[in-house]
Amino acid sequence: MDVIVDNLDAYWQGFVTTLGLTALSSVLALALGTVLAAMRVSPVPTLRGAGAAYVEVVRNTPLTVAFFFVVFVLPQLDIRLSFFVFAVIAVTVYHAAFFCEAVRSGINAVGVGQAEAARSIGLTFTQSLRLVVLPQAFRTVVPPLINIVIALTKNTSIAAAFGVLELTAVGTQLANANADAVIAVLVGVAICYLLLTLPSGWLAGRLERRLAVAR
């Protein structure tokens, strides 16, 4: 276990990078996912089709392949950004599809009467979605959204293979440098991830029980 104490600096650096990658990608993916969900319930057939196609393509493609396209194909088009930004793009594009599906199922869980009432007092589609349906939908989808953020946190580990020095990359570097303490090094990394994921999981479970609305 000395290995962990000796390398706390490296762990901390990796932890902060993972946290930054997670926070930035979560916010962007949630925004994109909400737009996609609104598109999928909109009155415009073209938007519905585009939203559905996006979700269908992304959910059947591995995140690693998304990373490949961003990291290896974008430079072919003379788009050169830092590996961190590339990772944010790949993680955002991938998870937006899942945020979209969670928000959409939330919209579907809001009672029909709510939308009918909104329409009957003369609100337009955008108004009824923004003022009546989405606020209630977000309430029911908070736990699933947290769970997707947890999945996203874990998935940022793939950025390790694409030049971002986050927790997992720190782990492999330390494991290579300390061949006699590989397991201790990796246990340290696992603990760092569990520090992020376990409390969020408990929070999601608690909120799920508290926010449960009888419909």
């Binding site: 073209t46 290896f72 088009l77 991938y94 009672g111 589609f125 997992t168 782990g171 494991a175 990796l186």
Partner: protein
């Protein structure tokens, strides 16, 4: 609110015209962006025929086919092992004996809480460190099993818990013991409810085999990367596009099967266990 149509009225003639005009403008805008991107790609020679003709060469096709076979092999072995581990974990968590239920619960929380890639690295780097040699295939399969065993265990548990209480009570009433009730009454019914979620999880697992790329297992993605490294970076667009198409074709058909099973299960048995969106993403 199952029918989104409540949110808006059917468009009249003016609305339809506006939708049409808006769609046309939107499509034009997308076409303009695409034209710029494609122009840039064309300037780099991304559309030269010889680049894409590569995909018709039999040795490239053979390479990708071998990669796909390796991907499917890893996915199927990992799926079988994960279901075995998952069944044990579910039975353990449902047990009334605390010394079984607690560790099984802790196991599930622990292995669902860390990234799959880290588990694969644990097997790949950790086992050799204690003197056990492990091939890249088994490192990938065992890593996948550690993670998916926990996820599938939760699917099994949800399936058994979703059955009406009366089933357990009836089993006890005719004198079955707990193990017998589980084996003879609950499991056969639960399996039907879980099938759609299991197929969805197989899609996720299939996607995750692409992590074999990181440890150098020659699955579909690694094979493609090897080809690009051998042929040169300009071939990355056709090869990665082909790989993405293969993944989407295989996983798309499996997802379709899962949705069909889900509808059928709901129709016949009035309910089904769902794979959570979060499990699908991870």
């Amino acid at each position: 609110m199952s029918q989104a149509a409540v949110l808006y009225d059917a468009a009249g003639p003016r609305g339809r015209r506006r939708v049409l005009a808006g769609s046309a403008v939107g499509l034009l805008a997308i076409a303009a962006i695409a034209a710029v991107a494609l122009g840039r790609m064309a300037a780099k020679g991304a559309f030269e025929a010889d680049l894409w003709r590569l995909l018709t060469q039999s040795n490239v096709q053979r390479l990708l086919a071998r990669g796909l076979a390796a991907t499917l092999r890893a996915a199927l072995v990992a799926m079988a092992l994960s279901m075995a581990v998952g069944a044990l974990l579910a039975i353990g968590r449902l047990s009334h004996r605390a010394w079984l239920a607690r560790p099984a619960g802790a196991w599930v929380e622990l292995f669902r809480g860390v990234p799959l890639l880290l588990l694969i690295l644990f097997v790949f780097l950790g086992l050799p460190a204690v003197g056990v040699t492990v091939s890249t295939f088994w490192a990938l399969v065992l890593g996948l099993t550690l993670y998916n065993g926990a996820v599938i265990g939760e699917i099994f548990r949800a399936g058994i818990l979703s059955l009406p209480r009366g089933q357990t009570e009836a089993a006890y009433a005719i004198g079955l013991r707990r193990g017998q009730a589980l084996r003879l009454v609950l499991l056969p019914q639960a399996v039907r409810l879980m099938l759609p979620a299991l197929v969805s999880q197989l899609v996720t697992l299939l996607k995750d085999t692409s992590l074999g790329f990181v440890i150098g297992y020659a699955e579909l993605l690694r094979s493609g990367r090897n080809a690009v490294e051998f042929l040169g970076g300009r071939y990355s667009i056709p090869i990665y596009t082909a790989i993405a198409v293969v993944y989407i074709a295989v996983n798309g058909s499996l997802s379709f099967l899962a949705r069909w099973l889900d509808r059928r299960t709901r129709r016949r048995y009035g309910g089904a266990v769902e794979q959570s969106t979060a499990d699908e993403a991870a």
